[in-house]
């Protein structure tokens, strides 16, 4: 979140690492590596926590 991945922001899955994890995602002009477990927790967070908010990382 500090990296600026904000609600409603569009992001792009650039590529997966050779072993399928982590993922490289691009948003706001930068590429960031995110593990699958962390990428998953975004969604869990949204569903369980606060329906008004959209995905947020860590």
């Amino acid at each position: 979140m500090a990296l600026g991945l904000l609600p409603g922001m569009s992001l792009k899955l650039v590529r997966k690492a050779p072993l399928g994890d982590p993922l490289a995602i691009e948003f706001a002009g930068q590429v960031v590596s995110l593990r699958l477990t962390e990428a998953e927790s975004l969604i869990v967070d949204v569903a369980a926590d606060c329906p008004i908010q959209r995905p947020r990382p860590s």
């Binding site: 500090a2 990296l3 072993l19 399928g20 982590p22 995110l34 593990r35 926590d49 908010q53």
Partner: protein, 720 residues
């Protein structure tokens, strides 16, 4: 230092990959000092910088970070240093915010957080040349006006552009003392913050700053409550209530902070930045190759092999020169002290040996840090971690553990120093703990001696190679479960997400890379070097004293017909037998009996705790083939093959049975027999706790596994 006391204290803060350290080097030149913050393993880099108007500034380069949320020691240090909460640290008069001009919005998030501290600030938009190339245009006057009038400077530290402007801006900020305006919180969040501040004051009697109140409200893993001494019973409900208040207004309390800051920054940057072509196409093109599913790992392995070969093989030459230099010095100094044998041995074996013992690591350290510097500064290190992460994440390490562990196969010392590239403190500690398990080049002579003397002649060259390869894997086999258990059960640190920026590729700047090499080498010499020197001296004393002058006569009397050479070797053996080391070895031999070690091996094992390769020359001495024995010494191999148990249940059978040989090799594979490693581990983990823990754990593990191997093999294949 001869310079007059600096007039001002200035701190350099910014995101990672903004070229902050390059700017620091450009501002301070070579007038730098590297130390540690008290109690933590965070390096403190400071230097002197002239403002150009006669004033001198103490510039501190704080660790790079994205946010003030204090989850790691690095972030904690930055928060504390800026708030003036570190003993002996001056509160910075001016904060210099270094931002990547090509990604202003994200970089200014930290700036917006820092505004809470109410310190005069300068904003440096670094990498302006790249921004220009991308067609990005930034209206600095407008930006300055929107940020409370603080100086805003365009610079390219890499090209040396704008560095003088930065100096002038610091001077201006110190005079005008303009502040970044802090973010305006929505009413309910402001109320929640006020309520928290009041609750802390009521419960602990201490006043928290607005910045601290925000950390309490927004961070889930802040260390602040413990440090405030705020009782958990009272703290938890208060924080929960405050977060509930935030939630009622429609904000997720854990997302509110970036949302509000980014909203404010978006407005501040409106019409300030004119977008160009977007992300540089070159980095994406290089990534298509370097992160390719098939080619990526191949290129990665190639780069790593090149690095390993350099550390392992290229370093041998300068290491040989250092060894030859020390030996030549011994040759010069030695004869002049012939009249006083004790002093002669002290100077040549103790003092010169001690200096050589840590100097010999320098080539490997310098070469590894040449690679680490190139890999990090070019942006490839993040890609390497990206490729390797999956292989390491399951046992609690991460992709950045690869370089330290690989270099551990050459030598643990540079491997340990390179764990600094790992940001996550838990993964860093776990990696440092398992690096000594890697089969370093000092273990090689031990395996070589044992395999050449016993495995080869008895079972053929095929088995000899197989055992050699197998021994190199033993450490790794135990390191992986160790890391797993350590990160899951022992280290009670909250796991940090492994979020890694894949930065723009950039040409490394030679000066920055050379500085990193030098700084690591200098710190190793000043810290670990002194410990290594001391250990060498102590072991020298233990194997020299007491020196009974009658020993030489008794040896001569026992073998009147022996040649001078044999006599000298026998005398050496007799001396070591009655030295403290020899007596101690005999006394503790029963401890090593389950591993099949006799007293001579035990003395060898004990003498090689400071440096495991010493076992070969110690065995040379105890088996009376003279000093300076090498692994390929035929005499030593023969003497060992001839050695038989003289008493006890195994009397008459060879000491070096297959079981004992395997047990000895396994023992050396696992045991923490390296003073420099223990000293470096202490240096890198900020205290002796982990170093001693590692020593005890590895030594106990080595003993247990060696005993198991000996007992098992001697039952399966009893000595003939």
């Amino acid at each position: 230092m001869s310079d007059p006391a600096p007039n001002l204290a200035v701190a350099l803060v910014g995101n990672p990959n903004t070229g902050k350290s390059t700017l620091f080097n450009a501002l301070t030149g070579l007038r730098q000092r590297v130390g540690n913050y008290p109690g933590v393993t965070v390096a403190r880099k400071s230097g002197l910088c002239d403002l150009g108007d006669g004033r001198k500034v103490e510039l501190v380069d704080l660790p790079g970070l994205y946010s003030l949320a204090a989850a790691s020691p690095d972030e904690q240090v930055v928060t504390d240093a800026l708030a003036g909460k570190i003993a002996g640290e001056r509160v910075p008069d001016v904060i210099v915010l270094v931002a990547d001009a090509t990604n202003l919005l994200r970089n200014l998030f930290l700036a917006s957080q820092l505004a809470e501290l109410g310190r005069p600030a300068v904003l440096v938009l670094n990498q302006a040349d790249v921004a220009r190339e991308q067609g990005l245009r930034i209206d600095t006057a407008q930006l300055s006006a929107r940020l409370g009038g603080i100086p805003v400077v365009l610079a390219s530290a890499w090209k040396g552009e704008g560095v003088a402007d930065v100096r002038r801006a610091i001077a201006r900020a110190a005079d005008e003392r303009r502040l970044l305006p802090p973010v305006v919180w929505p009413a309910n969040i402001a109320a929640a913050l006020a309520e928290l501040t009041r609750a802390v004051a009521a419960d602990t009697g201490s006043a928290v700053s607005s910045a601290e109140a925000q950390r309490l409200l927004f961070d889930t893993n802040a260390t602040l409550p413990e440090r405030l001494g705020w009782d958990k019973e009272r703290r938890d409900p208060a924080i929960r209530a405050a977060r509930e208040q935030v939630r009622r207004s429609g904000y997720n309390p854990l997302a509110a902070e970036p949302l509000v800051h980014y909203e404010r920054l978006r407005k501040a940057l409106e019409d300030v930045v004119t977008e160009g072509t977007g992300r540089a196409g070159r980095t994406a093109a290089v990534d298509r190759l370097l992160l390719h599913r098939v080619l990526g790992p191949i290129l990665f392995l190639g780069i790593m092999l090149g690095m390993f070969a350099s550390v392992f093989w290229l370093a041998k030459f300068p290491m040989g020169w250092i060894q030859a230099g020390v030996d030549a010095l011994k040759g010069v100094v030695g004869p002049s002290l012939d009249a006083t044998p004790m002093l002669q041995s002290l100077v040549t074996d103790g003092l010169l040996g001690g200096v050589g013992a840590f100097l010999v690591f320098l080539p490997q350290i310098l070469i590894l840090f040449l690679f680490v510097g190139l890999l990090e500064d070019s942006g490839y290190m993040a890609r390497a971690a990206f490729i390797m992460d999956r292989l390491f994440s399951w046992c609690g390490l991460n992709g950045k553990s690869f370089v330290p562990m690989l270099s551990g196969f050459a030598c643990a010392i540079p491997g340990l120093l390179s764990t600094r590239t790992i940001e996550d403190p838990k993964a860093r500690l776990a990696t440092a703990f398992v690096v000594p398990f890697m089969s370093c080049s000092a273990r090689f002579p031990v395996y070589a001696l044992m395999c050449a003397a016993f495995i080869g002649p008895l079972y053929g060259p095929g088995w000899e190679s197989a055992v050699m390869v197998g021994m190199h894997c033993v450490g790794l086999l135990f390191a992986v479960p160790t890391a797993f258990v350590l990160t899951r059960l022992v280290l009670k640190v909250k796991p940090q997400p492994f979020v890694l920026e894949l930065p723009r590729y950039q040409l490394p700047k030679p000066r920055d890379v050379l500085w990193r090499m030098w700084q690591n080498a200098a710190e190793f010499i000043s810290k670990a070097g002194t410990v290594i020197f001391a250990i060498t001296l102590i072991v020298w004393a233990l194997s020299y004293f007491p020196r009974d002058p009658g020993v030489a006569d008794r040896v001569r009397a026992a073998e009147p017909t022996a040649s001078a050479e044999v006599l000298a070797a026998r005398t050496q053996a007799a001396y070591i037998e009655q030295s403290w080391m020899g007596r101690f070895g005999k006394a503790v031999q029963p401890v090593f009996d389950p591993c099949g070690f006799d007293w001579k091996i035990t003395v060898g094992v004990l003498a090689s705790f400071p440096a495991r390769e010493v076992i070969v020359s110690t065995l040379g001495v105890t088996y009376s083939v003279g000093e300076g024995a090498e692994a390929d010494s035929g005499h030593l191999q023969q003497a060992m093959r001839d050695a038989k148990w003289s008493a006890g249940p195994r009397a008459g059978t060879p000491i070096f049975s297959l079981a004992a040989v395997l047990a000895l090799m396994v023992f050396f594979a696992l045991c923490s027999q390296c003073g420099p490693t223990v000293a470096t581990l202490a240096q890198e983990t900020g205290g002796w706790r982990w170093a001693v823990g590692s020593f005890l754990y590895m030594t106990a593990l080595a003993w247990i596994v060696a005993a198991l191997v000996y007992q098992l093999v001697s039952r399966l294949a009893p000595p003939a």
